[in-house]
Subunit: 115 residues, 2 copies
Amino acid sequence: MSYSSSQLNATFAALADPTRRAILTRLAQGDASVNELAFPFAMSQPAISKHIKVLEHAGLISRTRESQRRPCRIEAKPLGVATEWLEQYRQFWEGNFLRLDDLLDEMKAPRPNQP
Amino acid sequence: MSYSSSQLNATFAALADPTRRAILTRLAQGDASVNELAFPFAMSQPAISKHIKVLEHAGLISRTRESQRRPCRIEAKPLGVATEWLEQYRQFWEGNFLRLDDLLDEMKAPRPNQP
DNA sequence: GTGGTATATAATCAGTGGGTTATATAACCA
DNA sequence: TGGTTATATAACCCACTGATTATATACCAC
């Protein structure tokens, strides 16, 4: 399995901002226009448009046209790729893992779990 | 379930850099010193030290002392938190989901999947 | 056409990020 | 004590980010 580095860069960078994460959370409920997305935030409309552009550039949302509105839709594939990358490390927070150097220590020791 | 926003900020920001992701990948194999981590990169030692500081500040690694060396160890908990956050969206890339507005369209339409 | 609404773009600004080189600190060794 | 190794810190540079305000564009309705 091989991950496109620049795609992961863009995805994680997009997710690093709480406004953008909130926008994605909102879009998980259904498509929304720029103004609808901007409403909950104490932030100007151009600021939201910039965040949307970042999300779009990372492939996390797509946009259509609907008269004057440009509704946003969540596009989950890059989220899946990012999750896959993180899944590599699942063993590390689930406890059932053995690091290489722990293994070597164990092999060197007369018996495991002994000082 | 509630996620600490600032922790997610730090985690995703740390993961947005390919050098830092490579450092984590290396540390998944076992603990390593700064120089060992720096070796594969065409980058100065202070640059690597800065990346390490970012990872440490995000709680993704911990450090011990071993004579002159300051070995790094992967700390997976924040990776788990980030993965949990992303898992919220799993339904979106696995296909078996229905957006609220799709549902409404379907209810309005005489029959589903009809133009 | 005019006017209103929705969104995008331009210009600007302060702050941050990722890199550099040079230097300082800390621990070991002879 | 002096020398070597490992790492951290300081000072600096340039590019990028996230915000602003002001203005432009696109579409609709009358």
